[in-house]
Symmetry: C2
Subunit: 205 residues, 2 copies
C-alpha cells in the first residue's frame, strides 16, 4: 500500500521519520489510535516494528507529533485567511472557506487531530488544548468585530462562534473524497451558511 503524501509533514526529517508519521496518520484515521498496532504503522512505512522506536519514544508520541503539526497547520490556514480579506463579512467567509477546505482536503489528518485527542497523555493534551483555543478566538474576534460595526446581528457571540467552529470541524468526520462534493464546494456552501448564522444580510440569496 502506498502512503499518501501530505504537505503538512513535508518538512519532517529524516525521511524514515516522515514515512512513519504518514503511516501513522493513515492508520489512526482508519482504525483509531487504540486499534492501531505499532507493527501496522511500521509496515506502512516499509520498516520493521523496532525501527519506530529509533525515531519516536512511544506510539503516543507519534500521535502527539501528528496532533501538534496538524493543529499548527489548521490555525495557520485560518490566520492567513482572516488577514487582509476586506470587511467582517469577507473575513468570516474567507475564514470558514479556508478552515472547511483544510478539514476536507486533509480529512485523514484532521480526523486524527479532532477525534483522537483523548488518547493523548495528560501533559501532551494540555499543550494541544492551548493551540485549539486559538482557532476559536480567531473566529470569535471576526464575529465580534462584525457585530460592533453592525454588519452582523448575533446575540450570543460565544455560542455562535462555538457552533461555527463545530460545523467546520465536523466536516472531517463525514467527508469522503468519493462523495459528491469537492472541498472547494463545501467551503463555499459553508461560508454562505456561516454568514447567515451571523445574521449578515446581503440582499437575499
Amino acid at each position: 500500500m502506498t502512503v499518501e503524501t501530505d504537505e503538512s509533514f513535508g518538512g519532517v526529517t529524516p525521511d524514515a521519520a516522515r514515512r512513519l508519521l504518514l503511516g501513522a496518520v493513515q492508520a489512526f484515521a482508519e482504525r483509531g489510535f487504540h486499534a492501531t498496532t505499532t507493527r501496522d504503522i511500521a509496515g506502512r512505512a516499509g520498516m520493521s516494528p523496532a525501527a519506530l522506536y529509533i525515531h519516536y519514544k512511544t506510539k503516543e508520541e507519534l500521535l502527539f507529533h501528528i496532533s501538534r503539526v496538524g493543529h499548527e497547520r489548521s490555525v495557520a490556514v485560518l490566520e492567513e485567511a482572516v488577514e487582509g480579506a476586506g470587511d467582517s463579512a469577507g473575513r468570516l467567509a474567507a475564514a470558514v472557506r479556508a478552515f472547511v477546505r483544510w478539514h476536507a482536503e486533509h480529512h485523514t489528518t484532521a480526523r486524527v487531530v479532532q477525534y483522537e485527542l483523548a488518547a493523548l497523555g495528560e501533559e501532551h493534551y494540555a499543550r494541544i488544548v492551548v493551540l485549539r483555543r486559538r482557532s476559536e478566538e480567531i473566529l470569535r474576534e471576526v464575529l465580534q468585530e462584525g457585530v460592533a460595526t453592525g454588519q452582523f446581528a448575533v446575540e450570543d457571540i460565544r455560542g455562535t462562534t462555538l457552533a461555527v467552529v463545530s460545523l467546520c470541524i465536523d466536516v472531517a468526520r463525514w467527508f469522503s473524497p468519493e462523495g459528491r462534493r469537492t472541498p472547494d464546494e463545501i467551503g463555499e456552501l459553508y461560508a454562505g451558511l456561516a454568514l447567515r448564522m451571523a445574521g449578515y444580510r446581503d440582499g437575499g440569496r
Copy 2:
C-alpha cells in the same frame, strides 16, 4: 463508581444485562471501544468478566445494542418533534431543538452512537446505517417543504441538511454538563441558527 441512569435503556432486562449496557456506555464514551476492556465493563456492572458472556456474545455485540437503541431513540425524538409543530419554521426549530437536546442530555450515549460506528462489524454497521439515514431524511423533508412554501430560501437543500445534521451531532463531542450552557439553552440557540441557515426571515432578531 455509580452507574448513571439513562432511560434509553430502561426497558432492558434482565437487570444484569441493563447494568452491563450502562457500564459499557460509560466506558466506551470515556475511553473509546478499543481502549475499553471487558473486565472494566463487568467491573462497572459489579460482576465478574465472565458474566458478560452470558448476556452478550461478544464485546462488539454490546456496542451494537447500544448503537441500535441509541439511534432508535434519537430518531424517535426527532420524529415526535416534527409532528404537529405548526409551519415549516416551527417544525425545523422543534426538530433541531429536540435533536440537539437529546445529544446534549445523553452525551455519553450519543458519543458512543456517533463516534464508535467504525468499531462495529460489517453486518451490524450496515443495519445501523439504515437508521442513520432516517434522521437526515426527516430534516431534509422539513427544509424541502419550507422551500416549496417560500418560507425558506435554500439553494442546496441536500448540502444544507447535511450541515444542520452535522451541527446537531457534533454537540455530543464538545458538550459537558460542567459547561456554561444547559441542553435547553443550546437547543434554543441552535434552533435559531438552523432557521437562519434555512434563510428564514422572522423580522430581524
